[in-house]
Amino acid sequence: MECVVQGIIETQHVEALEILLQGLCGVHKERLRVHEICLKSGPNLGFVSSEVRLLCDLEQPEPTWTVKYVGGAMRGAGAEQISVLVRSMVESKASKNVLRLFYALGYKLDHELLRVGFTFHFQRGAQITITVSCVNKMLKLHAIEEALPVTPGIQMVEVTAPATSENYTEVAAAVSSFCEYLAPLLHLSKPGVSTGVVPTAAAAAASLMSDGGGTTL
């Protein structure tokens, strides 16, 4: 299970966001370069269609693979009241032949992406991860070297934190609290609820660039 919010930011303001995050998190960023392969079950497999993502971390000296399942969002009055999405999520590291296994099981390629950017991991009320990335599509199968941005000039920001059914309200509160610090640059909301770029971004970015990231939590 995880808590998640997403937003977008213009590429020209990403450097300012990085300075802000550096100041807020107090840790160094990690480079991100992930090939994401989304698979769907074939037409006859399973009573309902299923989807699984295979993530290949290209930043490692030897690329590593992770199988990621993202389930449906939590529903009900409690879920409506909190400003982050709570959804089931399970991850598992796997050996490099995991794509071959899922093809053998009857899964088909739905789409693939290349995410390039950076992440910050830090602990503040929850184990929070902020990912800022340019999402690229591939024109040819697995041709990551020829990937092109899906939305040129716009990058995606995602804040996630692992949670359990016992602590998700506390984790959601920690994520919401953190998001408030980013508000001048970008607005973060539940996935699927698009809020666009914020009008104060340019001014906030200019301020941050001159301030040099002196802001701390």
């Binding site: 399942y69 050996s95 296994l101 053998a104």
Partner: protein, 274 residues
């Protein structure tokens, strides 16, 4: 090297009573040379102990034609290990699950693997292994992959089997003798034995010492006149992309072959009855 010298070298390594091998005087004389020569031979390619994944052969009990496996055989085998000074260390358990596809249209069943196996091993409690033998595919994943498979609802557990029994130490060897039983049942389906040689991870370099040990072991078992014998089948690991350096994936593949053999034997017995 003569057969007796081979046995001797192994015997010392195993700390087996010399009487057991019927080469009393020769063994005693050559024992020190034997052990040291083995150690020297392997010293050059033995990584430090914390990096070594001990090499393992998985054997299964093959009943003679017309006979079946029973718990008395398992008892005799366990006694046999103890009779050669195997020191009982504790229990072990591995689990193997056959998965079946959840199919909307049964006519499309042939599109999906029929021998999709999942396995957990006691030496890697945080890992899980998938094997599709027909496609020569073995995958290592975190144990949370089982939860992902449950969530996907595209494959369901068809039958799950436990391999469980006792673990013994014999010098540089570790033996695990276990029964094969369905989970939630005591219906004995087979007997397996793991022979692990602790100092070596190379399949090729250990072949001789493993063959010698298994020969000795088979001799010991044969003296009990049991209606069957232990068999070792070595899969072609390179077909699975596995190298000479032993890994838990080698173990998972061996269990998949053992299961195929147990099923084939059971089917042969059934066909004979019919």
């Amino acid at each position: 090297m003569t057969g007796s010298t081979k046995r001797h070298r192994i015997a010392l390594n195993l700390q087996i009573p010399v009487l057991f091998l019927h080469f009393v005087s020769l063994l005693r004389f050559g024992s020190v040379i034997g052990v040291s020569s083995v150690r020297r031979q392997f010293a050059s390619f033995c990584p430090s102990p914390d990096k070594t994944m001990p090499l393992k052969w998985v054997l299964h009990w093959q009943p003679n034609a017309g006979s079946t496996v029973n718990s008395q055989i398992l008892n005799e085998v366990s006694q046999c290990v103890e009779s050669i000074n195997g020191v009982k260390e504790g229990r072990w358990k591995a689990t193997l699950t056959y998965y079946r596809p959840v199919i909307r249209d049964q006519s499309s069943a042939s599109e999906f693997p029929r021998d999709f196996i999942g396995m957990s091993l006691p030496e890697q409690p945080n890992k899980y292994y998938f094997i599709i033998r027909v496609q020569r595919l073995v995958l290592e994943a975190d144990s949370s992959i089982q939860m992902i498979m449950e969530k996907l609802q595209s494959y369901k557990s068809r039958v799950a089997l436990n391999f469980e029994g006792f673990q013994y130490q014999l010098g540089d060897f570790q033996l695990r003798v276990g029964k094969v039983v369905p989970t939630h049942s005591e219906n004995l389906r087979g007997i397996v034995m793991e022979v692990e040689y602790l100092p070596i991870s190379s399949m090729d370099k250990s072949r001789q010492v493993m063959e010698e040990f298994v020969d000795i072991w088979k001799d010991a078992v044969s003296k009990r006149s049991l209606p069957g014998y232990f068999m070792h089948l070595e899969p072609n690991f390179s077909e699975y992309g596995l190298g000479d350096h032993y890994t838990p994936q080698h173990t998972a593949v061996q269990y998949a072959y053992v299961m195929a053999q147990l099923i084939a034997s059971a089917q042969a017995v059934q066909a004979g009855r019919n």
